[in-house]
């Protein structure tokens, strides 16, 4: 037991994490491609056309996984940030920094595909629905996190300040979500009810799950690629980096 704890902490050092990440990346890329191909095939060729929405509904195979990931990545980011703050492990802060751009990308993708879906279905690119609004605020939170880290030159301070912001954000996300939800019900009798999802065909559900797995694997792979770049940049003064780059 004691041995295993030490093993885990070993990967908290950039030097031992760098090759480990390098070994894992191809596997996650391969998994992302496999899930992606299977998911796209299922969602475009196998899943039936929706009775009410026609072919346009197929955008949810990208939209729903992107929305899930945008929320989940923030939690993972806050987890790494908190870990870095508590244990003072350097790789944790780097992981949080590496995840933020992907999280922002997912939030932007979710908003964009949502708008593309909304125009034919609701007749509007944007409505002030609770979910749309809270997704937009989540996007702002990602931007704030990245802007704060970019503004601080000292990487250790950037990590810690970012960690506090991420933790404050994670406490606030449920508050923001419910406040937006109640605000929405107070203001307008919601004409669009997204809660009563029509019973979904099994193939549709499977397509969505496969696409979600694809997004997961993509996120892990791209975060590891990014964390490797961050490690090289921050540890450029060390000997092992000079050997690794050669």
């Amino acid at each position: 037991m004691r041995q295993s704890i030490i093993q885990w902490f070993r990967f908290g050092s950039p030097q031992s994490f760098y090759p480990l990440a390098g070994r894992m990346i191809p596997w996650f890329w391969a998994a992302a491609a496999a899930f992606g191909i299977a998911g796209l095939w299922l969602s475009f060729f196998v899943a039936p056309t929706d009775a009410q929405q026609g072919e346009g509904y197929r955008i949810i195979f990208v939209h729903v996984p992107a929305s899930w990931m945008s929320m989940f990545i923030y939690l993972v980011m806050a987890f790494w940030a908190g870990l870095g703050l508590a244990l003072n492990t350097r790789v944790s802060g780097m992981m949080a920094q590496a995840l933020a751009p992907t999280g922002a990308l997912m939030a932007a993708l979710s908003l964009w595909t949502g708008a593309l879906w909304g125009k034919p279905m609701w007749g509007a690119w944007w409505v002030w629905d609770a979910r749309l609004t809270s997704e937009l605020i989540l996007f702002f939170l990602y931007l704030g996190f990245m802007a704060l880290q970019a503004a601080i030159d000292d990487p250790r301070r950037a990590d810690k300040a970012g960690a506090i912001l991420a933790l404050v954000g994670v406490v606030n996300i449920p508050i923001i979500y419910f406040s937006v939800k109640w605000w929405n019900t107070l203001h307008q009798g919601s004409t669009i009810n997204m809660n009563k999802a029509p019973s979904m065909a099994h193939t549709m559900l499977w397509g969505m799950l496969l696409m979600a797995l694809c997004f997961w694997m993509y996120t892990i792979a791209v975060a590891l690629v990014r964390v490797r770049a961050i490690i090289l940049e921050r540890e450029r003064h060390t000997d092992w980096v000079k050997h690794a780059v050669e």
Partner: protein, 221 residues
Amino acid sequence: MNAFLATVRRDLLLALRRKSEVLTAVFFFVIVTSLFPLGIGPEPALLKKIAPGILWVAALLATLLGLPRLFAADHSDGTLEQMALSPSPLGLLVAGKILAHWLLCGLPLVLLAPVLGLQFDLDASTLGILTLALLLGTPLLSLIGAIGAALTLGLRGGGVLLALLVLPLYIPALIFGAGAVEAHIAGLGAGGHLSLLAAMLALAVFFAPWATTAAVRIALE
């Protein structure tokens, strides 16, 4: 507790010796709320409807304007480091600074809001609810804003960055604060909104000075 009161007193004294800085934020609040009718048109029914939102957004921005001052001067002349080294807990001193900031930036807005509300044709009971909501909401804005102010201490482009960090976190206060007034106008009763605002304030009073202190320590490293 003495250290807390001493910090409040010190910050108030310092601010009152440079009155213009405090008054700028207050006049900003007055000017911004007066600009909206000019931009939208003088129709009383419309103005009455959008008044709570306008007053709240203006209060948000006016609070934001005063936030960089919270720690910046003490950071640049080294007072903040002395505070961190002092025997009294830094959290207490930071809480004192936040309270002083609210007394200087938040309380004037609360007192001015009923006067500005008259410009928008709000009746007496609505003005009362508006003042009460701001009384609960502006300390919340100061508390949350202090975290952002401490995080952006001494950074390039700190002011704009502060807005980007803090404004998304202000959204719940805006929703329930303006919502309280709107619910009252609609005859639904503002109790629920005010309770939620008070609950968020209680949470923030407990957590925000703590997070701010952690952020100040990081900035001082």
